[in-house]
Symmetry: C2
Subunit: 281 residues, 2 copies
Amino acid sequence: MSQMNPLCMHEDPASVATGAAARRLFRDPASPAFLQTTGMAPGFMQASPIILPAELALDFATFCQRNPKPCPLVGTGNRGEPTIPTLGHDLDLRTDLGGYRIWRHGELVDEVTDISDLWRDDFVAFAVGCSYSFEAALMADGIELRHITQDVCVPMYMTDIPLHPAGPFRGHMCVTMRPFAPADAIRAIEITSRFPLTHGTPVHIGDPAQIGIDDLATPLVGDPVEVRNAEICVFWGCGITPQYAMLQARPEIAITHKPGCLLVTDVPSRADALALPGLAA
Amino acid sequence: MSQMNPLCMHEDPASVATGAAARRLFRDPASPAFLQTTGMAPGFMQASPIILPAELALDFATFCQRNPKPCPLVGTGNRGEPTIPTLGHDLDLRTDLGGYRIWRHGELVDEVTDISDLWRDDFVAFAVGCSYSFEAALMADGIELRHITQDVCVPMYMTDIPLHPAGPFRGHMCVTMRPFAPADAIRAIEITSRFPLTHGTPVHIGDPAQIGIDDLATPLVGDPVEVRNAEICVFWGCGITPQYAMLQARPEIAITHKPGCLLVTDVPSRADALALPGLAA
């Protein structure tokens, strides 16, 4: 996510072996700020948190339900409680992320590593599924992911695919793009069909212009990747979609993760996402 | 659902060809009361509606999100609006069901065919996925469904599998049971894996006692079916689960469908349920 944060990778992320270990690391005030979670806690689902005032919570849950491919809801907190019981033990959303973004009326106003002083008893937390889960499954199958090969962040684009609105949440779908040889594209579709709660099958293959993407070289977020001859572009719904819908809703306050600083859960990502709710023992 | 309603079938349901036609039929005051939707509008998704006051809506949506196998949310209405925009055109939840059950404080108080006089501007409507969608896919594959062969309603059981609570909604999972020869059981698991929003893969196979079912002969709802030698019992999460959770929550008022009188939608059921939201043209 180079445009928003040049630090996409960090040293030896896999040495952080579990979701609980990742959260303890981020909770420690002595840890470096804005550590990225890419490659961290292999085998554990990562998710994008979004924290909203309760008055918007039902609309947001409805928005996600109506747009399951870009906005797969994998966790919901109780009103006022800074945890998501189905995603982790001893999970504290006020401290357990590597970085937070604070939005007021749709404008980014701050980036912090702790939101304890901002937490309110009318906050409701949500977690949206992330493509890291299915990327691990693709790589385990031997499929090359170009952005991994090139050591950059996956490119994300805004499309002209309209979303079903709910309350003030509305907009168009954001997608990630990964190029594959045709045989790998087919296999990637087959594999991701098993991850319905982390975006599932692609929303488009082939010509970017058909979904309103004019130029692959200029992603909305992330880095452009090489598309080789005879490769097919494959587009999946992207978990930044609800953040852009949130910007349009312009809530009095919203808190999201800083790009790359995802919530690392205790849920095994190797499982079909529908293993949810099921924490690792 | 013989214990609750002896009329499980009705004449020539497939002559009602579409979701829209089914809803027009139920909307007509001259139609017979409590017509069942089994076999009606083949190829269109049916769903279980549940209508609650807004003060409980976020808790109910959260409950469904946390328990996706028995409670797959396939539609959510806007506050006060008696429709679900992603499930049908010209869909009026006040009139378009064959029968409704009215619950007050968790007690069944009435069964009616029209709720226009009960509708309130703080009601929120939900629709939960139904196994009819995957049953059609199983039959299309040539798999025998015993309750269809025996011309009875699928047996449903209460288990000891605990649900993740949300607000006042809590309880244990209800399941349906279908017996198969081993090869068909395997194929049924394979096929239903493609229907994550209509219960997906089974939650259990084999010994009923392992999930707290003492006696297959006495289902909670529906009719017992024959289990032949060398057959394996296959158990799926059941859409009556949220209704039982609702009974425990004892809301001031709740409205559900009368068993067998489901909401017939315009969404193709032959598609992977994740085709949602996508109405037939």
